[in-house]
């Protein structure tokens, strides 16, 4: 029983944090907002250099061969920096889906794409039945799309997209028009459904990890601002009402943390409780981030409500991440089905009441 991350994992997290602190500033994010795609090839190449897109690509396909326990830390940093690039679409969801497709027979297909993704040359987008939209469809070289239980792989040339602008300019959503065919189908029936479910759950986990980072960053920004902003001759951070708002947000973020990390462990080890565990992660981290938006905004006052101030960059992440890969409400309902109607996931670790 070991809940700590390894030294290597911590070094990875720190490296990503340092990199993003330098490169993914709010100003850089806003610059991207003004572009048509909202995505930067140059920046993606930099991310590829530090290994982000290939993190979950097996080493023999040119990746780092890591697992969700490493990825969760990278995504937390992506949230903290409000990174707008398609890390979730490509690295956290698309790649392991390709890996699983490779393992289930699509060996050459997977090999070809995994190598290109690890090298930063190709981007992926993944659709899921719970949403009518596909994120990052406009820049993806390959789209993995559901059609009933089947899973299809469609290349950029074979789709047309309609932009569905989101309140979060970092989130790029699209309706995708495409034609499923035998040629595009890469997994069928039960197998296709299982792959879809696993991909969805990885997306859920990825959002939760980003939400953790977003929540923490909102609190940090608010704590810093209120420590400096003066009213009535003192820093407003000396007021108990201000302190307690941010303390409450901090409680929520910290009690989401271990839930998110456990979900990463479940995803990485193929736990039978994976779906419940990632739902819990998104519920806890999502609500923490949403709560943090409110408290951070309130203690900032009017300045936090302006486009000029950077707070909304993260507020919008919290709002759009809540809706991605099933809203917090949807996951609460899924958990209720499991806990109340089903036998429920077992309590964490050894505990169970007598007779159970």
């Amino acid at each position: 029983m070991e809940f700590n991350f390894s030294e290597d994992q911590q070094l990875l997290q720190q490296a990503v944090r340092d990199f993003l602190a330098g490169e993914c500033t709010p100003a850089a994010v806003r610059e991207l907002w003004e572009t048509e795609t909202g995505r930067s090839k140059a920046f993606w190449s930099q991310l590829a250099e530090i290994g982000v897109p290939g993190l979950l690509v097996p080493e023999d396909h040119g990746g780092l061969g890591m697992d969700e326990r490493d990825m969760v830390l990278v995504l937390e940093e992506a949230g903290r920096a409000a990174l707008a690039e398609p890390v979730i679409s490509t690295a956290a969801v698309g790649v392991p889906l390709l890996v699983e497709l490779g393992e289930s027979g699509q060996t050459e297909f997977a090999k070809k794409w995994l190598g290109r993704v690890a090298g930063g040359e190709a981007l992926l987008a993944v659709g899921y039945e719970q949403s009518p939209f596909v994120a990052d469809a406009h820049v993806a070289d390959l789209l993995l799309l559901p059609q009933g239980k089947d899973l299809h792989a469609v290349e950029r040339g074979d789709i047309s997209v309609t932009a569905q602008p989101s309140n979060d300019q970092s989130q790029r959503l699209f309706s995708v028009d495409w034609s499923p065919s035998e040629k595009t189908c890469v997994a069928q029936g039960t197998e296709g459904a299982a792959l879809q479910a696993a991909a969805f759950d990885r997306g859920v986990l990825a959002c939760a990890a980003e939400q953790l980072g977003v929540g923490q960053q909102l609190i940090d920004m608010a704590a810093l601002y209120t420590s400096q902003r003066q009213q009535f001759g003192v820093a407003i951070g000396t007021f108990q009402a201000v302190k307690h708002r941010l303390a409450n947000a901090k409680v929520q973020v910290e009690y989401a943390r271990a839930v998110v990390y456990r979900a990463a462990h479940s995803a990485a080890t193929g736990s039978a409780q994976r779906s419940a565990d990632v739902s819990m992660a998104k519920v806890m981290a999502g609500e923490a981030a949403l709560f943090a938006t409110k408290e951070a905004l309130q203690v900032h006052g009017a300045i936090g409500y302006t486009y000029e101030q950077d707070l909304h960059v993260w507020m919008k992440r919290a709002w759009s991440l809540d809706l991605a890969f099933g809203s917090g409400a949807w996951h609460r309902a899924r958990l209720a089905d499991a806990i109340i109607d089903g036998q429920g996931p077992a309590n964490a670790f050894g505990y169970c009441a007598p007779g159970n």
Partner: protein, 389 residues
């Protein structure tokens, strides 16, 4: 206690309803925070004034309808009922107008009120400064007498309607050696005065909503002072009092949102999509709370009409409606699911209504007009009698 309308009140309602139904624009106007929307809203207010419905609660002598508070509530109900446009002239009707009626000279009344009523002149409020937000007495902008004029320097911020308004009212420090709420004077400032720069501020959704106003030796006639020199704080408190006592945030606004929310809930459920199971209860609560707000307002109005004054309990209102407004919009966005985050105009946002914009607007509620923290202090100290220090 008799919670039914008199025949006279029913007649008033019918009269308002008929005029509004006949005259309300058939299409929604563009936002009054755009140049064309501002102009369209002014035109609408002008039309309202021609019909005698612009300044409903103002005394007739100033161009109003002389309606009492209950009639005002009825008018507002009808106004929301037909979905009439927001009031670009709000600062004039509810804040500055009554203040001029109380503190203005005959010349000032004649000069300002008719053009306010006709919306020929639209007013911005200039309460806040960068260092005077919650701490409103920390005003630093100065107005120093020089001959027949005040020379104004400094900055105001969060001036609502500031981007396109013609005039601004606010407090300025006329005694540079004074501090806090002493030495302040209430001044009416034409925004085309040389030395004044207006810079719009965008909300988090990129829409202009406020303005910063910079004063660089802007000369304003001494006659533009409202009330006595150095008495700005008292005048401003009266203005804030009018806001609380006279206009009362319209219950119909929240009843309207609550009703739309119930409809959205029914529609979403009927469409068979995912509905958060906790929403049934939350939507019901929102509806009930909008009722509670309405009932409270009617009770307050009865009290005021019986000669009572509204005081610190205005702080209760502020907290209640601002937090209810957010809860209602959150519930609606949750019902909209994935479509809830689409910007107006997105192809997938058809029929989504303005819930997202409404949510962003609602978020400002607990901040403006005195943060809810300040309101809670007021409740604790002035209503519950808890110690200040």
């Amino acid at each position: 206690m008799d919670l039914t309308y008199t025949q006279e009140q029913e007649n008033f309602r019918q009269e308002a309803r008929q005029w509004l139904e006949a005259n309300v624009p058939s299409e929604p106007l563009a936002s009054f925070d755009t140049p064309e929307g501002f102009e369209a809203h002014r035109q609408w207010e002008h039309k309202l004034n021609s019909g005698g419905w612009a300044m409903v609660p103002w005394p007739m002598e100033y161009g109003g309808r002389g309606a009492n508070l209950l009639e005002w509530l009825i008018f507002e109900e009808e106004y929301y009922r037909v979905g009439a446009p927001g009031r670009v002239n709000q600062n004039g009707i509810f804040l500055l107008g009554p203040t001029i009626m109380e503190y203005g000279s005959p010349e000032q009344k004649a000069r300002f009120l008719p053009k306010m009523a006709s919306s020929e002149e639209v007013w911005a409020q200039g309460w806040s400064e960068p260092n005077a937000g919650s701490d409103m007495a920390n005003i630093q902008a100065t107005a120093i007498t020089d001959g027949d004029a005040y020379v104004i320097n400094g900055q105001k911020t969060w001036a609502s309607r500031g981007a396109y308004a013609h005039w601004l009212f606010g407090m300025f420090r006329t005694d540079p050696d004074s501090s806090r709420h002493h030495g302040l004077t209430f001044i009416l400032v034409p925004l085309d005065t040389p030395g004044i720069t207006v810079r719009p501020i965008e909300k988090i959704n990129g829409k202009k909503a406020f303005a910063e106003v910079f004063f660089d030796n802007a000369r304003v006639p001494l006659d533009n002072r409202l009330g006595d020199e150095g008495q700005g704080w008292s005048v401003a408190m009266a203005t804030a009092g009018f806001e609380r006592g006279l206009m009362l945030r319209s219950p119909s606004r929240f009843q309207n949102t609550a009703r739309k929310l119930v409809e959205l809930y029914r529609k979403t459920l009927a469409a068979g999509g995912f509905v958060d199971p906790s929403l049934r209860d939350r939507v019901t609560r929102c509806w009930v709370e909008a009722e509670a707000y309405t009932l409270n307002t009617y009770q307050t109005v009865s009290r005021l009409m019986a000669g009572d004054k509204i005081g610190a309990e205005a702080s209760l209102n502020k907290i209640f409606w601002s937090e209810l407004d957010i809860r209602m919009h959150e519930a609606a966005l949750s019902l909209l699911g994935a479509r809830g985050e689409l910007r107006p105009g997105a192809p997938g946002a058809e029929g989504v209504d303005d819930w997202l914009d409404g949510f962003i607007f609602a978020l400002a509620g607990p901040i403006y007009a005195g943060t809810n923290e300040i309101q809670r202090n007021i409740i604790a100290e002035r209503i519950l009698g808890m110690p200040r220090k």
